[in-house]
Amino acid sequence: MIKSFSFFMLSLRFKIRIFWLILLFLIVIFFAFRFVSPSGSWRCRQNFTGSNILLDSLSLSASACISQASPAERVVRATDGPLLVLADPIYFSIFSPRPFSRAEVEIVYRPHLSSSTPIFEAGFLADAKLWRYQLKPVYNLWLEQGFSSWFSLRDGNMRLFQKEKRFSSVSEFLSAWRQQGSDLCTYKNCLAVYNLALNDFPPALDFKNLKQAPSFFEFPYALRGAHQFYFYLPQAGLELNGSFFDLNDNKDKDEAQFLIFSGQRQVASVNLADQRPQAEESADRGPVQAFSISRSDLAPGLYRLEFKANDDLVLNSLRINSSYLSAINKIWPFDQEKIFLLTDAPYLQVKSLDPGALQDFSFGQERLSLSEIYHQYEFKSRQGGVQAINLERGGLILENNGVFAATADSLLNPDYQRLARFSTLSEEMDFVLADYESAQAEEDGWLRSRLDFEAGDFYRENQRYSLILSVPGLKLDGGAGGLLEIKEIKVHFYGKSLGEKVRDWLH
């Protein structure tokens, strides 16, 4: 009897053990399956309306594939309500078990935007060194409501707004613009664009009007950190030289790259490794390092120069065989003397990271003052045209959607007017062309927008991508007005399926 009883017990233990071992094995298989994602897809979803209060309060829920929004002070979440975005930008980190080549982001939201905050964009971190995000439009107040009296045409995602009805299709307009460019305009710069590069189109300015005689120009100020420039070669061949030095303030190695683009095509690159003996974080500047780039094969035309570096490197005495050299969208002068610059944009965003750089300065006709570091100031000029900027010394980071030049003769902006945050809907504008998909309306005023990204080059750290939601101008102090309600975010990653990977491996 006792023998049969112990056998029964052994048998039951064996059965239970087999049961949980199989369960554990299935859990491991589940994780392996999710990691490999044999279908090549991975989904994350976060719904901000309604929650399991009990689970959340006891911290019994597992962590989310889409993290909480940060910084926390820029968002508010009611118990059952949507996420309220009060200031820009906010960030989410999105978990993925492996890298993927494409991402689709779907956002359900209610925008409460104003003319000061007309644009809502979202995107992923593409370059961690330069902290550059690849953004796509979610909602543009002007394109949704601002051109209601204009004639609107649509071809897929391409939208054309015409002040007067001159074309009956988007393709007809594009064909005419390719052939005639701004000859179609009554006034200069009659075309504004949004989310378009227009690389295959005539540039916004006529190169025949630029100086064709060869000459050299030296940018008179030292510039800190990464910068991009437009320059124009009247004749074949590039001669570019200068110097830079390393501040050795941060802990990272300070490599530099010079990249030259013709349109979107990279035509030259030079890498400069950090082999300087000075230690990082030592504030020991070390000697100035000279560089020279000479390319006789570059044809005459417009180019973009990118100096890719972190904030420890200062570019000095930049000299080029071109009359035109303009910094694109951002300039950070380093010198401690007076600085004079010109910009073709009617507004300026200014920030200082150093209390020693706080100063009074002038922009256009206005006299302005900076009193706080790490605070972005925004100034809009009441007058159009080129604006002069007079700084008492360097150290301020100046940004806008135009270009900055040291002299009027060296100012060059081949871009079309962009329908950006501070754009004025000028009387001289005849056409607006945008690559923009309108939001889908849902019940109760909610909107749904879908964005597609090529995610192959996106930066990923600790199995997480960084997603940004940006409404430029949205601030906690409420001066600009507006807020954003987010009901749901869905992210769907796509990559090669297991079958495709096996096929690639076999071939």
Partner: protein, 70 residues
């Protein structure tokens, strides 16, 4: 009714065994989780709450130490 009564009796009689095997299962799950977190930080915690698992493990351990007598 007879079946549910016999189920209750079965469970009462074999509860220490079930508790012991459940403890081994939770321990193994935590070890698997630690290994997964080492390889892919954040992956295991997407589906399991570590704090809850550890709490369950502790409760089961205390139960086995103080309640179950061989």
């Amino acid at each position: 009714m007879f079946k549910s009564k016999s189920n209750i009796l079965f469970f009462k009689k074999n509860f220490p065994l079930i508790a012991e095997e459940f403890f081994y299962f939770i321990t193994s799950l935590l070890i698997v989780g630690a290994g997964l977190e080492f390889i892919l930080p954040g992956f295991f915690t997407l589906y399991f709450n570590i704090a809850t698992l550890v709490l369950v493990w502790l409760i089961t351990l205390l139960f086995l130490l103080f309640y179950v007598r061989r």
